[in-house]
């Protein structure tokens, strides 16, 4: 390898065989192999995967109707009959937690998808077109950045009559897109000034192909990180709103269980389980996502790398990490 590129990691050369072997053996897609090669993202992936599996099989493992009403069964501590205990109304908390996982995951996923795609489209468009479009997008970003999100959410959910999931997804995406849009815009700006973009133009590539074929593949890791980040912030904020009673509290979700636990002052009566189990489920999911994010960040930012496994660098490459490396080298 040449000494001309000071940012080249000497490990790069040795790195090329490991992921291919994995791929050949089990037909693991490249990005997954990369996520699995990092301890943090592997753990995070396993945790999130567990929650997803539970959410999928929830109707078969929930032993009772999550909103079932039975005074005979009310306020029971965890037991073999009711693993996570019961609420004041006698509903089974285990069923509420596993069914509630569905709403939390769906909401987080779609809010993240909407916020990230908005951020990516607006950020990249602004960076590429520049001029007035860039100014307008920047003003929008700045407006949404200076508005404190939680009060805005409270006000919005107070005014919006319909508290369905779609509304919540849109509301969450609306307050969470701006931060990522700014980051993606900055990255697109730095990428578009690089020679390979001019080279693609000189080859005759259309603008659309330059964006989706040349620029976006270099931004995948940043977009993935944005997605995971918005995912867990959306989970937390949604649970918070539900806890405050600003969502539809007749539905089943972790935040709603917490809301009823708080409304009925269960802790004052010595009942810890209606708080603990949905809270632990939320914390577990968020921790999984945070670990996943930390793993992705490690591929893209070599300064954060905790260990030096050779195949890590392959990972950085597929995730556009080479760019991050070069930029780090300058600063």
């Amino acid at each position: 390898m040449s000494q001309l590129d000071p940012t080249l990691d000497p490990a790069l050369d040795l790195s090329l065989e490991a992921p291919r072997r994995i791929r050949r053996g089990f037909h693991v897609p490249g990005w997954l192999a990369l996520l699995l090669s990092n301890t943090k993202s592997r753990l995070g992936l396993a945790m999130v995967g567990l929650v997803v599996v539970v959410a999928v099989i929830a109707p078969w493992i929930s032993v009772a109707d999550p909103n079932g009403f039975s005074l005979l069964a009310a306020r029971q501590a965890p037991s073999w009959n009711h693993l996570f205990g019961t609420t004041d109304q006698g509903s089974d908390i285990f069923s509420q937690v596993v069914i509630g996982a569905r709403r939390s995951l769906l909401l987080g996923f779609f809010a993240a998808a909407l916020a990230t795609s908005t951020a990516a489209v607006l950020g990249i468009t602004a960076a590429l077109l520049g001029g007035l479009v860039d100014d307008v997008v920047n003003v929008l970003i700045n407006i949404f950045l200076v508005i404190p999100p939680i009060p805005l959410l409270v006000v919005m959910s107070g005014y919006v009559q319909d508290h369905g999931m779609t509304t919540m997804i849109v509301v969450l995406a609306l307050v969470l897109w701006a931060f990522e849009a700014r980051i993606l815009r900055a990255q697109a700006l730095s990428l578009k000034s690089r020679d390979f973009v001019d080279a693609a133009r000189a080859s005759g590539e259309s603008t659309a192909r330059i964006v989706f074929g040349e620029l976006v593949p270099n931004m995948i890791s940043r977009i993935a990180a944005a997605f995971v980040l918005v995912f867990y912030i959306a989970l937390l904020v949604d649970a918070g709103l539900e806890f405050l009673g600003l969502a539809d509290v007749s539905k089943t979700s972790w935040g709603v269980t917490l809301y009823w636990a708080q409304t009925n002052s269960t802790v004052l009566q010595g009942e810890w389980w209606p708080f603990f189990f949905p809270g632990a489920a939320l914390a577990f999911t968020v921790l999984g996502l945070v670990l996943l994010l930390a793993g992705i960040d490690e591929f893209t930012n070599p300064r954060l790398r905790s260990e030096h496994k050779p195949h890590r660098s392959r990972l950085r490459m597929l995730f556009g990490g080479r760019l991050a490396t070069r930029e780090e080298g300058v600063s």
Partner: protein, 327 residues
């Protein structure tokens, strides 16, 4: 001289605005530049940093639009064409190689992608022959075995190999003109000669007209047939390279030549008559020679009238009141 020039440049001018809207100034990056590129000829474009030589290459590559002047491709002005079909037709004949081999290839794409895209965009060959043509092109630029190289990512290649990929990409469309923007300046000295020889071979075998942008007179002398010397956006001297370098007319060309260390003389024996440079010579220039502040030969007229390119010797012109006076 030989065949008709595929690419002709007439009074090409590019001004870049600088400063704020209140104190707006213009850099005359390229000012009234006229030359032509002939098939099977390498024309060197030399000058110091900021002289506008890379801007010329970018203008010719249709990456920037000139402020005025014309780029004539086979007789028709292409500098302002916008229609995608026309732009594509131009790009299929005129290609550019960039200076930075580390920046000009997309880090997440394989070598195959880089060479294959132009083939597909311009439908150079039917799509079932693309793979085969990619291998041929890689072989042409000396990247063997092509099957292995095609699957590699840019970071797996050395700087020289990457530059060869850039050349293969430029060659893919079978262009008549290749603009090489300092193709060797970022390479190890030991591999520069390989790239220069490759350019010379492509010139001979394919009759390609090269514009070789460089600041390195030695490599220009090695590979080029003609030379254009730029200073502050203007061509100050042009002619066959041997004539220009052996008997330079313009004091700036002399200065460039003096700046090349000569191993035959002792270092302290070499004295370069150099006055303080003024790099802002291209910012809103006033009438007069732009080199006058640094020129050892400057006389009164130099600050009053802008000199014109005058053919003082056959095919050898300079822009200087003293050495090439307008008769």
């Amino acid at each position: 001289m030989t065949a008709a020039a595929p690419l002709e440049v007439q009074s090409l001018t590019k001004h870049f605005p600088i400063g704020s809207a209140v104190r707006r100034a213009h850099v005359h990056a390229v000012d009234d530049v006229t030359f032509e590129l002939r098939p099977g000829t390498i024309t060197a474009l030399v000058g110091e940093s900021g002289s506008g030589k890379s801007t010329v290459a970018r203008l010719l590559a249709h990456l920037d639009e000139p402020s005025s002047g014309a780029v004539l491709f086979e007789g028709s002005d292409v500098s302002h064409v916008r229609r995608r079909r026309d732009v594509l037709r131009y790009r299929s004949q005129v290609q550019i190689i960039f200076q930075d081999p580390f920046g000009s290839l997309n880090p997440v794409k394989t070598v195959r992608h880089h060479v294959e895209r132009p083939l597909r965009i311009h439908r150079v060959v039917p799509s079932n022959q693309v793979e085969q043509r990619v291998h041929e092109l890689l072989r042409t630029v000396g990247l063997v075995p092509p099957e292995d190289v095609a699957a590699k990512y840019p970071h797996e290649l050395s700087g020289g190999q990457r530059q060869r990929v850039s050349i293969a990409r430029a060659l893919a469309v079978e262009p008549k003109v290749i603009l090489a923007d300092e193709p060797i300046s970022m390479l190890d000295v030991s591999i520069r000669i390989g790239i220069l020889n490759l350019m010379a071979r492509l010139k001979e075998e394919h009759g390609i007209a090269f514009l070789y942008v460089t600041h390195d007179l030695a490599s220009a002398r090695y590979v080029a047939d003609d030379i254009l010397v730029m200073y502050a956006g203007q061509i100050v001297e042009r002619g066959p390279i041997e004539d220009v370098l052996s008997e330079p007319l313009h004091p700036y060309t002399r200065l460039l030549l003096d700046a090349v260390p000569d191993p035959a003389t002792k270092t302290d024996a070499q004295e370069i008559d150099l006055r303080k440079g003024d790099t802002s010579a291209a910012v809103d220039p006033s009438e007069g020679c732009r080199f006058r502040a640094r020129c050892p030969l400057a006389i009164e007229i130099c600050s009053q009238t802008t000199p014109q390119l005058v053919e003082a010797r056959p095919r050898h012109a300079a822009r200087c009141h003293v050495t090439a006076p307008a008769s």
